[in-house]
Symmetry: C2
Subunit: 409 residues, 2 copies
């Protein structure tokens, strides 16, 4: 396996991109799908924001340093990574707030349809907010697995306002076909809302081309924007004039500085702005996104599949004999940018792995998750992770269930 | 006036606090009620967050560096400045999002009452969100000036769910009596919700002592937490067990890491958490708040009143003859921490003042606003502002209506 890793790394034309990140030495970081590492461009950019723009420019920096336009400007940068033409993507707030906005706005665009359909395996916040919006709008929520969605829509689709899904299962790493599911939604007259948290920056996306209606995603996973980096919201241009958002904050007003008595939404995606955005976090995200400058996402995807495919082969050779079961599809077209292994001692193994310099994470009760960001990961990293995991599995000298759970997303 | 300023500054026992801020030389900064200047503690703290906690600690910093608890920890620090005992204040999101949460939660706590009452002079986002929550919950909004609120409540109070006010008028700087208005709300069986954006960090507050039900405020004005710093939400402990928030994001779940299918709110104020908070902005705010360490807010208030009182005297002597009319009450008990002067050329004068090193701002159409943060402002600063404004008023060689409006809050 060592020779194979060395050969694959030697052929890696994207290897230089690793220098765009400040990774600790001697760490194999496979948790970038929870929190991306520090991009090298961030510290100097943030220094400038704090020590020059804020300290010296003071209030004037809202105009002079482009703070006011940042949610739209950074939104367009994210838009390039998800296949959105300019003027349709905004950054700010958390994914949860953006999801609430997107779900509620979608329901408002299909006022005569009583169903909101989502994945029973969706990330919790997506399900909680779907429930909340459904209560608010007197809708019913139906939980349908992605594989069953086309049949469900063929049968009951004329009652569905919006389908809310992720293209990547955050636990198993399975990739669903956005094109098929979006088309099924549209064939039923429903809207398609995608949560791209585990997809944006990890694989090529084409929200415009697929006719996606709305999308959200976070800034801190594959986009490496920093802890709690602002999220993004995409709304297809055809919906802008009728888009009603549930939180009409003053920055989304057509003339915010007139301080008018009543709310008139701004034209375009700007109407989805809410309050004053967290500029330090937002401009850190903007600097982080320069790590994608000039990167062909199709090539990044090819490398990602090479990394996850190689890791699955390592797992077959080294780990399945020890009781690890890969749950991520081996078929490349059905694989996101992570590999998940099932093992009864997943929590203990994740902690023990971190102690030997391989940072992965786990999802209760028994899933060990290895996120792969091809911008900075090598095949040798994947082999190191597999061999250290094998060593732990062989010796079984770890605590199988350590007490402290880490935060997860 | 120069001697008077010198004497007052010589007696100022808080003058050393100015060293806690990195203010540009030769600038008199009287716009800290829009964006506070950079506290000296922030750059090093943020360096540590970025270069050590994020770069080296990576995902582990959610626990090891206390990121997970930060919304509650920083909330308690803000709580000390507003008179809230620990466990009732949370930080995160924007003021607009927190207002939406507070208004909606307040309405839910008084489900049988059809009115939401607010100030027609309230900051726009407060009014827009009151309208949005009223639509959502089928309530009517009544606009009542603070001075008329007790009479209104005596007449119609039994139909009022919540009154939503600011103790300080953001345009005129007039201070309203929180005690009287809170009591009037309670006498009517309504809830009192206060927007403390222009009060927190500027004057002593006592939300617990007054029995305030809910409060919100921003982190970037008198708290100097940086552009778009996270906002705060206070909910009195007696409401926690019945508090229902409109955005049940996963971080407010009782067991967020269990990734449960349905939402069970956390005990206490933690249930008001929504999504993943913007850690860089949030920890910058935390560092900024150390500028209040050991500061007696009563003494800060005394100094603030001395500064604004002195400025009003300067205005009487130097500016009223030139057509400036103070609109801020001269009576100390009715004055927040700002002075506002009316002049037909307010916009042009604000721009011209900035060019001569005095940064104030304006509110359309004719109000020149001078925010006073007593942590770093001297009487000499106030005199400088008044004399430079007099010079401009005398020469009238400024553009009375320059084209570019600046962002405002």
């Amino acid at each position: 396996m060592h020779e194979q890793a060395a050969r694959l790394d030697a052929d890696d034309t994207l290897a230089d991109l690793r220098a765009r990140f400040l990774l600790p030495p001697d760490v194999v970081y496979l948790d970038g799908n929870s929190l991306g590492p520090l991009p090298a461009a961030v510290p100097a950019a943030l220094d400038d924001v704090v020590r020059r723009q804020w300290a010296t420019g003071l209030i004037g920096s809202w105009n002079a340093a482009g703070w006011w336009e940042a949610p739209l400007r950074v939104g367009d940068t994210v838009g390039r990574l998800i296949g959105a033409a300019p003027g349709q993507t905004i950054t700010g707030d958390s994914t949860s707030v953006q999801l609430f906005t997107a779900l509620d706005a979608a329901a408002a665009l299909r006022p005569d349809r009583p169903l909101l359909v989502t994945d029973p395996g969706h990330f919790p916040t997506d399900r909680y907010l779907a429930d909340a919006v459904a209560r608010r709008r007197d809708l019913a929520v139906r939980h349908v697995r992605p594989g069953d969605l086309p049949d469900f829509l063929a049968a009951e689709g004329d009652r569905v306002a919006v389908v809310s899904y992720s293209p990547v299962d955050y636990r198993t790493g399975e990739l669903y076909d956005m094109r098929t599911l979006t088309r099924a939604a549209h064939d039923a007259g429903a809207l398609a809302l995608w949560d791209l948290c585990h997809a944006a920056g990890a694989l090529p996306l084409d929200v415009d081309g697929l006719g996606v209606d709305l999308a959200v995603g976070c800034g801190y996973k594959f986009l490496s924007g920093g802890p709690g980096a602002p999220a993004f919201l995409y709304v297809a241009r055809r919906h802008h004039t009728t888009l009603e958002t549930p939180l009409p904050g003053w920055t989304g007003h057509a003339d915010p500085f007139a301080l008018a008595d009543s709310y008139t939404p701004a034209p375009g995606i700007a109407r989805a702005r809410i309050g004053t955005p967290p500029i330090l976090s937002l401009l850190a995200l903007e600097a982080a996104l320069t790590a994608f400058d000039g990167v062909d996402l199709a090539r990044l995807r090819t490398k990602s599949l090479s990394l996850t495919g190689f890791f699955l082969r390592c797992a077959d050779a080294l780990l399945t004999p020890l009781g690890f079961t890969p749950v991520t599809p081996a078929e490349p077209g059905r694989r996101g940018s992570q590999v998940t292994l099932r093992h009864a001692h997943a929590r203990g193994l994740a902690v023990a792995l971190a102690e030997v310099g391989v940072i992965a994470d786990m999802r209760a009760p028994d899933l060990l998750r290895f996120g792969v960001n091809a911008l900075y990961t090598s095949h040798r990293d994947m082999l190191t992770a597999a061999t250290r995991l094998r060593d732990l599995g062989e010796k079984a000298d770890y605590d199988p269930a350590p007490p402290t759970p880490g935060p997860v997303t």
